[in-house]
Amino acid sequence: MRVSLTWLKELVDITLPVEQLCERLDMTGTKVEAVHTRGEALKGVVVGEVLTKEPHPDADSLSYCSVDVGAGEPLRIVCGATNFEAGDKVSVACVGATLPGGLTIKRAKLRGIVSEGMMCSAAELGVGTDASGLLVLPAEAPVGAPFAEYHGLADSVLELEVTPNRPDCLSMVGVAREVAAVTGATFRVSSSELHEHGPTASDQVSVRIEDASLCPRYTARVIRGITVGPSPAWLAERIVAAGGRPVNNVVDVTNYVMYELGQPLHAFDLATIAHKGRMATLTVRLARANERLRTLDGQDRNLAADSVVIADDSGPVALAGVMGGEATEVGDTTVDVLLESACFGTASIGRTSRRLGLISESSLRFERGVDPELAARASARAAALIAEVAGGQVAPGVVDAYPGQRPPLTVRLRSARANAMLGTSLTADEMAAFLRPLGVDVAPDGEDLRCRVPTFRPDLSREVDLVEEVARLYGLENIPSTRPGGRGRVGELTDVQRFRMKLGSVLRSSGLDEHVGYSFGDRADLDRMGWELAPDEVLVELVNPMSAEQAAMRWSLVPSLLRAVSHNQRRGVPEVHLYELGTVFITAEGRKQPKERLMAGGALTGSWTGRGWDEPGRPLDFFDGKGVLEAVFGALHVGGWSVRASEYPWLQAGRTGDIVVGGDVVGWIGEVSARSASAFEVAPHVVLFEISVPALHKAASRAQVTYAEIPRHPAYELDVAFVVDQTLTAERLGSGIRSAGGSLLESVRLFDVYRDPSEAPDDIRKLPPGKKSVAFALTYRSSERTLSDGDVRPAYEKMLRKVAGALGAEVRQ
């Protein structure tokens, strides 16, 4: 809401400086977003006197003038207007001035002659609608004076943020009442005298409302014999100050009264409304199937079934509260006007205007709620002003259909209750003093107040609403700060919450940075990954996405992680180690809400630290990812887990595994496949993993951590290398050794794997074809004594025989 300070001062006595007024409004709930100084827009525009006017030598339609602007040499200006003579006073935009339309004045050549400025029309200055010629000023206008000052435009305009609960503040009168209440100033309502003549309105117009919930009140007045033309300057300026655009005197009056009182009005050309005999008949109803209306902006619109229209016998003539129809518009030839001043239901107006993308000053006010009691008063005010600026006669009376009238509301305010809620100790009298200037009719009743609330404050319907008014007028800054007591209360995290924090902390200790990506997903990512949804799974799709890339919810963290990798690589950052703890979504036919699962995902590429001064940066691969998992499972005390070879389309075959805990697959790990790497635009060799956090938490919560004695006797250590089939996994061989190793075997650690290079010639091959060598460090230990050769050898030899028998593993000599 734009509030002209000059206008406001006509309605309320303001003695505070502007800054203090703004501060006061801020602190009582009407935030001042900005203060514009209106004259500034016309900086560089001055009053000038035309000294000479000659025809342009090369263009018949232009003249070439010299203009005195009160400083320095007269300006030489080329001009296209014809409505002036030498000696006239005009407004001159000098070089550097910017006009309200955004035009910046420059020194320019027009048909070969340099023009050093521009003489302006009323429209160009934003002070009127007349664009046909220059705005010629009275002879006494002082040459050189800033135009804004001369024209009385030096005004401050406050831009107020009006919250949705305060429709009353979408009017000058409402803001003035609020200013009076918060500053203690006196507030007055302006009025104008209405003279009525001729046949009564009710003999000329009839109005029928089909549904009171769509339109609680509709009033109509008739004004005959008007002359449509430009508005007088005072009216045009008020419209501009309020942020509007002057159109003509009738339309400008309807807008003026809307800004002043908050009542949107519409003027129809009465002659264009279908008549029954001498009666123009209007109906307020829902649009019917297939009805159309060409609105004021020239658009043909199909009307939805829940749109409210004003119709005559031939069909809709206006979209109620949103926009009028083109056919019934007030134009230059209009003589008789039907003036609508009505109240429409908030819901339907909001839906209609949003659906059609037609947000107007009128629809905004109806959507917030217009006081039905206002309609007749606004109509009288507008009729009187139309008669004043456009001539004509106002027919006696107002046609007033008011099916939605409600008795005034009385709300009880218990002062004790208000104090208990606010933490204050105000008296009932003090509370009453805050409420009265807001228009609340307060009657004391013991310690309570009986409050009759004004109809223009629909937000005041409950006791708590009045408590809010007391709070903001008393001043939130005056309420003492306290804190709730804490007996018997503890703040703590749940097991799951602590687990999540620990998981994040372990992933970070393993060298991964946390990424927070979009939860949105792209259906095309299914294809980029080669991910197939299970038969009963359905992607979670948005009804109204903003782009195809964000039209669904993600079902995996992989796309988000690969996009982050790609983002880094494209910016020349090769070392990327990320994890994300985020929700994924999947649904099914028949489900309302999807399943949401928390996943932990990771992506590693490049090396850990880049090339160092004494070591090359070793490229990360599968086993660095697996190392992260080992650190995670270790720190969370999850035992009995393993990685089992597996295949997924988005991972490279042969470098992919399922993460298995206690027989359940809880996630997967692998290097990105060539196809997915190119689809997500990442360089190859990105290690990815994704684990279900609830499954991990379940495994971790089973973990039993108990103290194991620190060994007191030295270990007996032995290395052994086996030659085995290349297909035999390290895990099978290792567990074979462990299970055959006997009670003294404490640990088995793999430390070397050797394969002959596949291209190696036979004479340098060290192993038979199809074989590999796998070496283990074996640690034997007894908790009772130091072990000798004699203790270990028999167990060792037995293990070798068993492993040879079970796995065909031969000791490499």
């Binding site: 909001g350 949003r354 995290l493 924090m501 109204n544 982050a564």
Partner: protein
């Protein structure tokens, strides 16, 4: 006394050799040459046995003195040489201590989650617990139970992401759905009040979604932390005092706080909370748009209509709620100029916090 002369000659020769040795190795060679099993002095000593008995004691005494002197000399020389060699080795092993260390990489927590954890820590200290709720919500929890009228503009398709409802239910409003991406963490309030009896002291952190195109000051997804207190005798003063405590903990003890009346459908009275600008201290500068204040959260007393939806008696209990955006706090705290940086995963950004 040929033997004594031999010994003196041997001693002179040995002492010269000791002094001539220029390394521990060559010194050891000298020791072996004189005192080793096959050394010259050893040979002389061995020869003592064959001497006539009358000269034997004297020869024995002299040869022993020679052996002690050679050994003493050897030891002195060994120490001197060892010290030199030690210094040489130390000199050779010296490094440029200004060379970079070999760090094991340690990952960073995302700045938004650092902020959320910091907020959580402050409220845990005040005796709050942490609650979560689904990101794909029902209209009822996101709007209706939070006292939004059916035609509230926030419900419009242009502001809220709706999710395809596969249950076959008909949506209240044409084109919309009863299922949506939560637009704030406030539905968490309703879930908590439905499942717990007062006293309730919780915060609800999480991701929320609004239909904004990503640009420097908007994201379609952001992070909120909601707070809710429901108890007997809770006042607006309690809300004020709690938030003042929070702001000082989060932004520092010298920041001032002001509450401006505002409007939210689910609280009444409602307020917006500003903190004094950390750069100009409240006098107005470029970073606070000349106002001296920065808006950081919204709050208010729980509206009785909200209590009505969850069956809490507003005559017995009162409460307050507040909500804040982690992105905004992070942007203010660290001067991040473009919110999109939070979701891009640029490691050069992540490593700054």
């Amino acid at each position: 006394m040929a033997i004594s002369e031999d010994l003196r000659f041997l001693e002179r020769e040995a002492l010269e050799a000791v002094l001539a040795a220029d390394s521990l190795d060559s010194l050891d060679a000298v020791r072996v040459a004189y005192l080793g099993k096959k050394g010259s002095l050893t040979a002389v000593l061995r020869g003592l046995a064959s001497l006539p008995p009358e000269v034997r004691p004297e020869a024995g005494r002299v040869s022993n003195e020679v052996r002690v002197r050679i050994e003493t000399s050897l030891e002195q020389r060994r120490r001197a040489l060892a010290s030199v060699e030690h210094e040489t080795r130390i000199a050779a092993e010296a490094v440029d201590v200004t060379l970079p260390g070999r760090a094991r990489p340690i990952g960073r927590q995302h700045v938004l989650h650092q902020i959320v954890e910091e907020i959580t820590g402050i409220f845990l200290g005040l005796g709050y617990r942490v609650a979560d709720g689904p990101e794909v919500e029902l209209d009822y929890y996101n709007f209706t139970a939070l006292n939004h009228p059916p035609d509230h503009p926030a419900r419009a398709l242009q502001d809220t992401f709706y999710v395809r409802d596969l249950s076959g239910d008909e949506a209240e409003v044409e084109g919309e759905s009863d299922v949506l991406l939560r637009t704030h963490t406030s539905p968490g309030q309703v879930h908590v009040m439905e499942t717990q009896k007062p006293p309730i002291y919780v915060i609800v952190p999480g991701k929320v979604y609004r239909r904004d195109i990503a640009d420097p000051s908007h994201l379609p997804q952001f992070t909120q932390v909601e707070g809710l207190v429901v108890d007997e005798g809770i006042t607006f003063g309690d809300l004020k005092g709690t938030l003042e405590h929070f702001v000082r903990g989060m932004f520092g003890p010298d920041r001032r706080v002001r509450l401006r009346p505002h409007f939210f459908p689910f609280t009444e009275p409602s307020a917006e909370v500003d903190i004094s600008c950390g750069i100009c201290g409240g006098t107005g500068c470029r970073s606070c748009g000349g106002e001296g204040w920065l808006e950081i959260l919204g709050c208010g007393m729980v509206d009785p209509n909200v209590f009505g939806h969850v069956g809490i008696d507003p005559e017995r209990y009162s409460g307050f709620a507040f909500g804040m955006g982690a992105e905004r706090i992070a942007a203010l705290k660290y001067g991040v100029p473009d919110l999109r940086l939070f979701v891009e995963g640029d490691t050069r950004f992540l490593h700054q916090f």
